[in-house]
Symmetry: C2
Subunit: 516 residues, 2 copies
């Protein structure tokens, strides 16, 4: 299906402190890890990637930068050392970069059907809800939480259940090209630690958040923190665990996670705000997803003018805050969010599924708010950011029906949100989201199907007497006929593509997924 080039890019001599095999998740194969990397450190064989590279410009969401016949050199730390835009000849590239003389080569298949693209960044996903994907009926946010979500999350008190769910979720998201994910876990410390372990073992860049929810009137008795102190103590236990396995948070980082304002007491919000300040850690929560939820916030926090002000009052509205949804914000709230440089995770699949509303993404972007994309599994039914990209363009068209044509988001803009935008949301825009010198090699190789033509012009007799009928030649869902520009091919990928088109995935230079 695709060429792995001259040498395999998996380093034979990769060194992981305390052992980790490179998890190449092949279909029909189980990988058992005898021990999890407790101190994360990867050393890769330097690799030069040859082929077509496509990414968003860092300062212009409206266009894609296409580099055909390029070469990118990635060093043993997984950092891009050079980008050559004209690299027909590998020898010349190596001559120019002699430090890559002993590097491995990875050549994408020539012929215009394969390209490298930055890994996707999922800025909002609930890993424990993964088994519920697609099961939401006609519910909306608040009844959905009670009926489907709390019971599911509560089941992760069992580590066996957590292991099954989290390993599947991480494997699936990787297979969809998600190289970075901001995960909500559950209230359970062991299960949350396990999710961090699994991300570390799988090589997925992750923010792992132990969910805080101590409000007795809002959360069910069977699934909540006993007190604000328990919220804090258990959050700290998870932070400690991640510090042990990845002391510099190079791959996996804790993220402080008040579920959403109504689920927390003011005491918990206050203490979590302090924890954010003390630790400098990122934070994530929900905002303005559903009109009934907004009413609930008004009722529970009558002293504040708006939902955004609640978070701000407790010191939670910082540049490291990821706010999920942000559908029904007032102008004043948007301005507040902008002034604090808090970030927004747009979750269009979820917003359509739960009838939450159409977020005004163009309005947020024009207002200077940083936006990325989230799958919001399982409010969102799909673990694929490519599906979120598709939904971003479609939901924006529904918004445009009432708010005007300028609300439409293009394929290019939506892909920007999935990569550069997401990188900004998780404050890693200098490391991931694009292919520039000094950034890390978080990438996916995309492959499309070339439809073969079946011979020349048939004669009139052949039309009726000899029809050549040809079925799809491979499992990939995107057909390319040969006339398409790169922009057309990218659009075809966005609208008809799926995980079958994601042939390989790398994080920090390490290959973490391959379909071969």
């Amino acid at each position: 299906m695709f060429s792995f080039g001259i040498r395999n890019s998996i380093p034979k001599s990769a060194i992981f402190r305390r052992l980790v095999a490179c998890p190449c998740f092949l279909p029909n194969r189980t990988i058992t890890m005898a021990a999890v990397s407790r101190k994360y450190k990867v050393v890769n064989t330097p690799t030069v990637y040859f082929g077509t590279f496509i990414h968003s410009y860092c300062d212009d969401p409206s266009k894609l930068d296409v580099c055909e016949e390029g070469a990118i050199g990635v060093n043993s730390d997984g950092v891009i050392e050079f980008v050559e835009r004209h690299a027909k000849d590998a020898a010349t590239v190596i001559e120019k970069h002699p430090e890559f003389k002993t590097a491995e080569f990875f050549q994408a298949k020539p012929g215009g059907t394969q390209f490298f693209f930055p890994g996707f960044i999922d800025t909002h996903i609930h890993a424990p809800q993964y088994p519920n994907a697609g099961v939401f009926g006609s519910s909306t946010l608040l009844d959905w939480l009670t009926k489907y979500t709390f019971p599911r999350e509560a089941s992760l008190s069992s580590l066996s259940v957590a292991r099954t769910i989290y390993s599947r979720c991480v494997a699936r998201t990787l297979s969809h090209g998600t190289t970075t994910a901001a995960y909500y876990a559950t209230i359970h410390v062991p299960a949350t630690n396990l999710l961090a372990d699994i991300c570390s073992a799988a090589g997925q860049r992750a923010f792992v958040g132990r969910v805080c929810m101590d409000h007795k009137d809002i959360n069910p008795d069977y699934y909540r923190d006993e007190s604000a102190d328990e919220s804090i103590t258990n959050t700290c236990l998870c932070i400690d665990h991640i510090k042990k396995i990845d002391p510099n948070y190079e791959l996996v980082s804790p993220i402080i996670t008040p579920r959403f304002a109504p689920s927390c007491t003011t005491e918990a919000l206050e203490k979590l705000g302090k924890l954010v300040k003390e630790t400098g850690l990122p934070c994530q929560t929900h905002i303005s997803e559903n009109r009934n939820e907004i009413q609930l916030v008004k009722k529970l926090f009558p002293e504040y003018d708006s939902y955004a002000e609640v978070y701000d009052a407790f010191g939670l509205l910082t540049p490291k805050m990821i706010l999920g949804h942000a559908i029904h914000l007032s102008k004043k709230e948007m301005d507040l969010i902008k002034s604090r440089d808090a970030k927004v995770s747009h979750c269009p699949v979820s917003n359509s599924a739960l009838t939450s509303g159409g977020a005004k993404v163009r309005w947020l972007m024009n207002g200077g708010v940083t936006v990325g994309l989230g799958t919001d599994v399982s409010g969102g039914y799909s673990p694929s950011i490519l599906e979120a990209v598709r939904a971003t363009t479609l939901v924006s068209r529904h918004v445009a029906l009432s708010d005007g044509d300028e609300c439409k988001l293009s394929v290019e803009e939506s892909l920007y949100l999935a990569t550069r935008g997401g990188a900004k949301v998780v404050n890693l825009e200098n490391k991931i989201g694009g292919f520039e010198v000094g950034m890390e090699w978080d990438a996916q190789l995309i492959g499309l199907e070339l439809v073969e033509t079946t011979g020349g012009e048939p004669t009139e007799e052949e039309v009726v007497d000899k029809v050549v009928f040809e079925g799809p030649k491979s499992a990939g869902p995107v057909d390319v006929f040969g006339w398409e520009s790169w922009d057309d091919k990218v659009a075809k990928w966005v609208y008809n593509g799926d995980d079958r088109n994601t042939l390989a995935v790398w994080v920090q230079g390490r290959k973490v997924w391959s379909r071969e």
Copy 2:
């Protein structure tokens, strides 16, 4: 991946008059047909299907009828002869139906991950536009026609181009479980005949329409009929061809196809109306898709009160008319359509993509209008009716945001539209869309993935020292964990499924697709 049961269901002795092989379109295999069935006639080996059968009730769109451990007997004409709802024991079934003593058996895999479902009915698809799927930029209907669509359709003046596109399109739609399609072709007679030939060879039930468009001011010079007479003459040539290959229209039928009111002169509309009356053939066109289009109709046909009245005036609004889109209809138009028993094809993927609007499907259904689903490739980017089902639920939720909760369509209702509804739209509700005695076996076998759990509860030590990481075990996108009801599993299929879940497809009892 799935069991084919005791014997393979492809009849070894299948007799096709002038037809050679059963086109089992396997990935990575090309099937060449030396001759096309000119007189369509299939004789199958009688087969008994065992397993779980799920279909919509014919009179209640809100629920699915699930028959676990059922058996369905299909005779040599592809007609269902018996349905047994409790068939644990094959011997008892055969004892009760001795005429199936020598039948083949087809057993779906037990264990709750496979089920038979009626084949999908695509009531609106433009086969020549298939290569454009996903390529529409930010266009809306009228500029989309000019920029993307007319140039693509014009290229099918080449039979070689038509052969490549049509064979791929039919293979793809079959792989998505589309057992019946109402195709728009182009203005070209040879290419349109070729599409009919390909459907006949592939075994897909199809309505094939040669497109009529003779208006000099609306259609481009390079792609239109020279006159109303040419519209009629060339339509008749295509009817004659299909009559030759399938005299009783058992599998492939002609369908009279004025593109849409603006593209035709009043002379052409008048003559096409007469042709509909004389031949009794079905008819298809577009209505009320886009607000600018509606204005254009008003301008071109000032003497009529509405878009629907234009068609009615020319005798085109009959029970055999399929109206694509019907988004912005007035109440009066809906009542007219209802009174004529004309049918509506809802195309939600296209309507979102081209920013056409959200069709008020609940309103149409409550008004007594018969509705089915269409992919509308390539206004719609996907050839999959499953995607259209998904989009039906989502678009209905966007409509609900403004028009109220009762507008939401459930998974069950959307699947009804894709099967029973579609069958009514093409006036074949007594033959297809469900599993009842006397109906034909147009079906698909659906398979989901069972996620295996990885052992029992780990000890605290194992949590940190022994993580079992497991990748997806197969290529299928839908994960089942074991706790799901059939309704849950169907919802998971609708929201995360794709052609990988469609393991096999039958039309009139003949297996026309298999993923094995």
